[in-house]
Symmetry: C2
Subunit: 328 residues, 2 copies
């Protein structure tokens, strides 16, 4: 097994990426290929000790910026770390690609370079969501902002494989994100998707409302990429703002400061279970290769956890299983 990593991807690349990769090599003892401007990656790598032969550097002279136009960046920068890295998945011995870079570019390059799995029309980004029960899996959180009803069915099939193998749910249920519990709610997309899911997805449990996502009502939640992306980002923004707000209030009151100190370990446990960096990479499902997308602001820990997620996907042969089962 070898994990390919976009060394130039993310707001703090290559520093955070290299730091996370080195840490992962120590912990998981899995070989990695770091793709990027060799000189810069090398300079960064020199700062660490790691077991010999575990890290290979692959030169890619171009870098896709975080705000580059997705499609244009693929056409114009054929030698970017994203395109070169994804290309490696076509070779023997390279098993998964991780990038914290421009999400649109990763989606576009994956689609073009790897192609789609037969029976899947559009890629979807999945996301593991911590819930009051355990975990749910939501797809799509941003790859496809013009989803058609049948795409949501395809997402459901793939999500079930992921939930079964990675989240260890024996028989995952599927919910359709919607603005009401009843059939006939939502836009044309949800109305049609509801029909198709009811007909063709035996584990479909109906609509679920956004406030039910975190209760774990459905193991798999399917939605359009635009809505899913808004849902994910607003959750992130809300958690950050609430943390700031609480700190502000606590600072006003010495008794509260003491209280916060006593609470610290419990809060950090609670925080851990809702911290994106604990889960690392979000799988891009539907393309013919294992691709994981990490948050642009990924810390070294988030990169390390994305690598852990990638190893798990390879070990479970998620791609093979999705090809076998999802597309019927």
């Amino acid at each position: 097994m070898k994990i390919v990593i976009d060394a130039m991807g993310g707001d703090h690349a290559p520093e955070n990426v290299v730091a996370g990769a080195v840490d992962a090599v120590h912990t998981y003892r899995v070989p990695m290929a770091l793709v990027g401007i060799a000189q810069r990656v090398e300079a960064e790598l020199k700062r660490y000790k790691y077991p010999k032969g575990f890290i290979e550097i692959i030169h890619a002279p171009e870098v896709v910026a975080m705000d580059d136009h997705a499609i244009a960046s693929i056409r114009q920068k054929k030698n970017s770390s994203i395109t070169v890295g994804i290309g490696l998945l076509k070779k023997d011995g390279y098993d998964a690609f991780i990038s914290a870079g421009n999400t649109g570019a990763v989606v576009a390059a994956s689609t073009v370079v790897l192609g789609m799995i037969p029976g899947v029309d559009r890629p979807g980004i999945g996301c593991v969501i911590p819930t009051l029960k355990k975990f749910s899996f939501m797809i799509d959180v941003g790859a496809n902002t013009a989803a058609k009803p049948e795409h949501l069915l395809q997402y459901a099939k793939m999500a079930k494989v992921y939930a079964r193998l990675v989240l260890e749910v024996p028989r995952p249920s599927v919910g359709l994100l919607n603005i009401g519990a009843e059939e006939g709610k939502g836009t044309e997309l949800e109305k049609e998707a509801h029909k198709i899911l009811e007909e063709r997805e035996p584990d479909f449990i109906g609509n679920i409302e956004a406030n039910e996502i975190f209760t774990g009502k459905a193991h798999c939640v399917v939605c359009d990429g635009y809505v899913g992306n808004v849902a994910l980002k607003i959750s992130e923004g809300l958690m950050e703002s609430v943390a700031i707000l609480m700190k502000r209030e606590i600072k006003k009151n010495p008794v509260a400061i003491l209280g916060a100190l006593l609470l610290k370990s419990s809060l950090s446990e609670a925080r851990k279970s809702i911290d994106y960096s604990e889960y690392g990479g979000a799988p891009l499902l539907g393309v013919d290769g294992l691709v994981l997308i990490s948050h642009g602001r990924s810390s070294p820990k988030a990169i390390k956890n994305a690598i852990r997620a990638a190893i798990r996907e390879v070990e479970h042969d998620i791609l093979g299983k999705i090809k076998e089962e999802a597309v019927k």
Copy 2:
């Protein structure tokens, strides 16, 4: 001034509605009309003392259930508390209508009975959002799930009036909810809306991403009702789940329990600033009358605060100002 209240609306009606109305009469000394099944409302009212002549009961024999189909309920239940209550706004002396009942039915009845303001094509539900700065105003959070670009421009114009008069922002900025900062992001709706807003809305500051809503980057945030509803509900669900999660962790550890006790007042201050019931009613803008929608789970406090919001809207003549200014 008289505030009309749907006594039968919400999961705990008429109990919570009557309790909130009585409390509001004591505090604000504004007369109210409670619309609903007279016998039930009367029975509930008997449990309280309140200044004479401040509460009028208006009989409406039918009740729209929370899960009734919106349009059908309006056609079939012409004497529901919603339709009768909204009808009162056409009479002199009745100034605003509040319901915690079936949102779709309130939107449909308001549109049919009151009609639209000239120049506004679709109603939008606005929502006051607590932010790190102060407050923002988001519209639409659920009235119109098939928004067109020009609807978002109309929402922007109305939102600015609301933000100026009620939130006291001298010159409110307008942001378009989108999944990226750059122009050209999003679905066809956002792409087109971006163009129209740039051309015709002088206070437009561009796209804002969902994680920026709570930072207060824009005073007014416009979006399609489907996306806005998901955003609102997921925030609500997340806050509830995080609270449950924190309690679980705290209970595991006696030191943390002490910490939580010391923190209590600070946390409840922070909580207050993000608690929907503090803000009460969400204005339904665009229809030719002041209509406020309260949460289905409204507590008596939430009803009272919705009444406070309604009084404020009447005092500021929000409806008149929107007619004057927004639609140019």
